[in-house]
Symmetry: C2
Subunit: 347 residues, 2 copies
Amino acid sequence: MATLGDVAALAGVSISAVSRVLSNDASARVSATTRTRITEAAKALNYRPNFAGRALKFSRSNVIALIVPDLTNAVFAELMRGVEDGALERGYVVLLARAEDMQPGGEMIDRLLGEGRVDGVLLQVGDHVAPEALASMLRAANPTVLVNSVHPGFSGSVTLDDIAAGRLATEHLLTLGHTRIALINGLTTTHTAQQRAIGFREALAAASGAGTAPGPDAAADSGPITWHGYEPRAGRAALRELMDAAEPPTAVVVANINAAIGVLGEARVLGIRVPEELSVVAIHDAWTAENTWPPLTTVRMPLYELGRRGVDALYARLHGETIADTVVSDPPPELLVRESTAPPIRR
Amino acid sequence: MATLGDVAALAGVSISAVSRVLSNDASARVSATTRTRITEAAKALNYRPNFAGRALKFSRSNVIALIVPDLTNAVFAELMRGVEDGALERGYVVLLARAEDMQPGGEMIDRLLGEGRVDGVLLQVGDHVAPEALASMLRAANPTVLVNSVHPGFSGSVTLDDIAAGRLATEHLLTLGHTRIALINGLTTTHTAQQRAIGFREALAAASGAGTAPGPDAAADSGPITWHGYEPRAGRAALRELMDAAEPPTAVVVANINAAIGVLGEARVLGIRVPEELSVVAIHDAWTAENTWPPLTTVRMPLYELGRRGVDALYARLHGETIADTVVSDPPPELLVRESTAPPIRR
DNA sequence: ATGAAAGCGCTAACAC
DNA sequence: GTGTTAGCGCTTTCAT
């Protein structure tokens, strides 16, 4: 690893001259000859500015941490890509971390930040994190931006339009002619699940309001909602529960694609044919949706853009700006009709 | 961010005293009183050693990079966990990077290493990387360890026992009574695919050798092999190809679980019932295997241990030891029988 | 037992 | 135009 000193020696100039040239200081006055001598020497030695030296000088690492609950969740693939691209564009490197290692109470994050390893944190909080645990790491001037999550009293979240997603998925089923529709949702504690439930109810209410006279109790019009979580096994449990009812649904909105995969599996076990006897539409798209049977109808969310906007927000915060919560709705949620949804069977 | 100087000032001692105490220098002679004064001051100020300062001093970052072709591939989940755990144990932090960003020709890796951001690299090379591209970054004293891959002339790989995996999967189908067995494999260029093919042929040869008289041309005994790749769509293409044959197989070994998911999907499209008309066993286990229909029989590989051993090897290399190639076979590949395999139909 | 000082690689203010 | 110098936070001789 060649240093500035090495380059300076080879070029026969001072260290500061080299520094000026190689960091392309605009206001640097250097003769053309020395400039070429320096750049050539640097190239010959394959010079790269030492990371630690810079970080020490600037007290800034140009690294941001991205923390997601589960790295292998295909849903986060796009998010990560967006973050990486946004970061690269701004000269940042992304340190990807497992939320697992971040327990308990953000000790690991404190370390990352406290030791100056990273300048800021992009945090997608997992479903099972208690708000209290979050509170400790969101205190004070902590350069953190929440992605896809919110926290009471914390300003600096960037989220998706989950209401629209819930509405879109539900409208699709209504359009097909379904009337008994259920929502297989995430945990009640999560903001995303709450939002998706709102969209679900909105669509149902609008339909019943338009189609029939507005009932006195709109609540009775709304379909059943389960709140088991976003994992495949949560989807399985939810479906069993719903199918036990006296009048089981003919269609379900599943708030997460992974849970939907569980729903599909459980439907097979229960002998329920999809889409003939049960239509399934899931929120979030991923490669897995094309490889289930039947292929899953999904609502594609702008996760890539979410990642980029998250970096934008963190960048702004790192530069002293106070940032407001933002909802990423461009491009808007998009319905991808595959083969898991169909009109209900007449009988 | 409190510095050593801050702690020293608060404790009323010199900076060097603080350094000695806080880095628990065993050979440091310090009075009990100053020691407690220092530790208390450090605690009061929530002191954390500055990363850049240390890295600069030691010319060592205590960070290793883990590069995998696709972060969201469930197969790598275990690998990552093993790496993280192994690294943490040794006081290292893991910088997770997309192979995507590493193109072309390892420019990004050169940067990571050249700027001193990481001390070494754990590299799982993707299927589509040309050996020439790899050669440039594996030259000289590059502190790199290949995981799950090999490179001609490069010593420092840690791999799995893919021969045993191929053999185990094939033996399972043989035991069920299948005689027309095919291998849906990865690209010919990948070491893992080659090894799995060896195991596949070994099992077939052993069976034909034991069951009948050893034929003069053992090659004729071996089942057909396709080499399309490890992705779902590669699996689909492979199945279509195999089923076009005059005597299609009654069972397939799929060299990768993701390809196997594609195989299952394509079987549905072709109207082939699994396992009645076609048994499917895949190498590598993941949560997805439990959620396909039917649930996939798989061969579980010790990927967690692979990760840990990879860190071991890199650590050794970073400390000047020359390391040999190693094969991680403890625990050995394990067959997980689910519902995608069954005896062939008699006719 | 404790402190002073040098130096890791870099940048920027300040000479000349 | 170019060089000298101080200092970012840390560890480690070397004095005392």
